[in-house]
């Protein structure tokens, strides 16, 4: 289900965390859905089970998954986290675009105009 890049410099543990978060945020993995067991992932990817366990623990700490002892790991109700993550992503994107605009000589007022326009559009939709 997840693909890792063993040649990448990014630690496997981080890759697992990011990939699973991504699947949860994109809602490929739905709320209360069971995650693949440590054994299944370990066998499928030939990854040290301790590394997978550690990644799952970290995901649990961050609130993305919860554990039922003896049953496995499940996707937590993460609507709120997802929204926060998405907002964070959008902010990053806007910042990048604004930077580009600034380099091309756009002025502060021009950005504000775009913002006003967008707000109007949204209100018009209501």
């Amino acid at each position: 289900m997840i693909e890792l890049d063993l040649r990448s410099r990014i630690p496997i543990y981080e890759q697992i965390i990011e990939k699973i978060k991504d699947l949860i945020i994109k809602e490929v993995l739905k709320e209360d859905e069971q995650l693949p067991s440590v054994r299944a992932l370990s066998t499928e990817l030939t990854i040290n089970p301790n590394t997978i366990q550690k990644a799952y623990r970290e995901l649990e700490r961050q609130g993305y998954i919860y554990t039922i002892p003896g049953k496995g790991n499940f996707v937590a109700p993460v609507k709120k986290i997802i929204n926060e993550e998405k907002v964070k992503e959008i902010k990053e994107e806007i910042k990048k675009k604004v930077m580009e605009g600034l380099y091309l000589g756009m002025k502060r007022q021009e950005f504000i105009d775009i913002l006003d326009e967008a707000v109007k559009l949204k209100e018009g939709l209501k």
Binding site: P11, I12, R39, S42, T43, T46, N50, K54
Partner: protein
């Protein structure tokens, strides 16, 4: 858990191991890396109770390992040059080990037979080097010991076999908390295999850490500012390496990644890239700090 404390080992005047301290958690895959002649094999031989420590101890669950049959039964050491009785077949060698190790499992031996697909009636001396390696790993896993010590074990196995062996070992780690201690020169290999790493250099441990912590704690940053590099950066970051090419500065920094990133972002860089180091690069760097020749192979 295996604990090594204040361990010294001399060969005559030569101090092969100096004040080694290690903690090897149960169920971990523990990698020992080091330069040539750093003392890896001596360390493994002392941990496995073949060598007597001159000072200090190696203990498993608080019991001394040296000269302790009861404890040594729980561990098996795969030497880089394993010994076989002349003229023994694989099957005969297995029954020899069975007579020594109570934990030996016929079931595991049979299961692994299907994995390795070597005729058990063949004489070991007639097998190729790579196949001999497979045989010793086959036998080692059949012994079902709590601890498996491997001295450069995967060298000489082809890629498919290596993958298979890793899978089997991971299964044992998960299933029954097998502890694996492994040394190798092949850092790429250990990177995917281990969860803990100890770096040793001329008989001393210079680093012992969880592999992800090790990797998170040292990283390469490339950045550029429209103006000069702010002073605060060079003052506040623990910089191991510094290179400037044109506007682009490259640092190798030790410490917290997020903190370093935030610090640089404060000055609004026009370029910022944070790149984790590979185990190989970390090794070279740590060795460099320990006074081992590294020159400019890093960047």
């Amino acid at each position: 858990m295996i604990k090594v404390e204040g361990l010294y080992k001399n060969y005559g005047d030569f101090e092969a191991l100096k004040d080694i301290n290690l903690t090897i958690p149960k169920g971990s895959v523990y990698g020992i890396i080091g330069s040539n002649g750093a003392g890896k094999t001596t360390l493994l031989k002392t941990i496995s109770g073949i060598y007597k420590p001159d000072k200090g101890f190696a203990k498993i669950e608080d019991e001394d390992i040296y000269e302790n049959v009861h404890v040594k039964k729980r561990m098996f050491f795969v030497l880089d040059d394993p010994y076989y009785y002349h003229n023994y077949s694989i099957k005969e060698m297995a029954s020899f080990y069975k007579s020594i190790y109570e934990s030996y499992s016929d079931e595991k031996y049979e299961n692994l037979k299907d994995v390795f697909k070597i005729d058990e009636n063949k004489k070991i001396k007639n097998l190729s080097k790579g196949m001999k390696r497979q045989v010793i790993i086959w036998l080692a896993l059949s012994l079902n010991t709590d601890v498996l010590i491997l001295d450069e074990p995967l060298d000489g196995l082809d890629a498919v076999m290596r993958q298979k062996v890793k899978k089997i070992i991971f299964e044992e780690v998960l299933e029954r908390q097998l502890t694996v201690i492994i040394s190798s020169h092949n850092l790429r290999e250990l990177e995917d295999f281990c969860d803990h790493i100890a770096i040793i250099h001329s008989g001393s441990v210079i680093k012992e850490k969880d592999i992800d912590e090790l990797k998170n704690n040292i990283f390469k940053i490339q950045f550029a500012f429209s103006g000069d590099v702010p002073k605060e950066l060079t003052e506040k970051l623990d910089i191991l390496y510094y290179k400037q090419s044109g506007k682009v500065t490259t640092f190798i920094v030790k410490g917290d990644r997020k903190k370093a990133e935030d610090l640089i972002l404060k000055y609004e860089p026009i370029l910022l890239d944070i790149i984790p180091l590979s185990l190989e690069e970390i090794f070279i760097h740590e060795m460099g700090e320990a006074g081992y020749e590294k020159e400019n192979i890093l960047l």
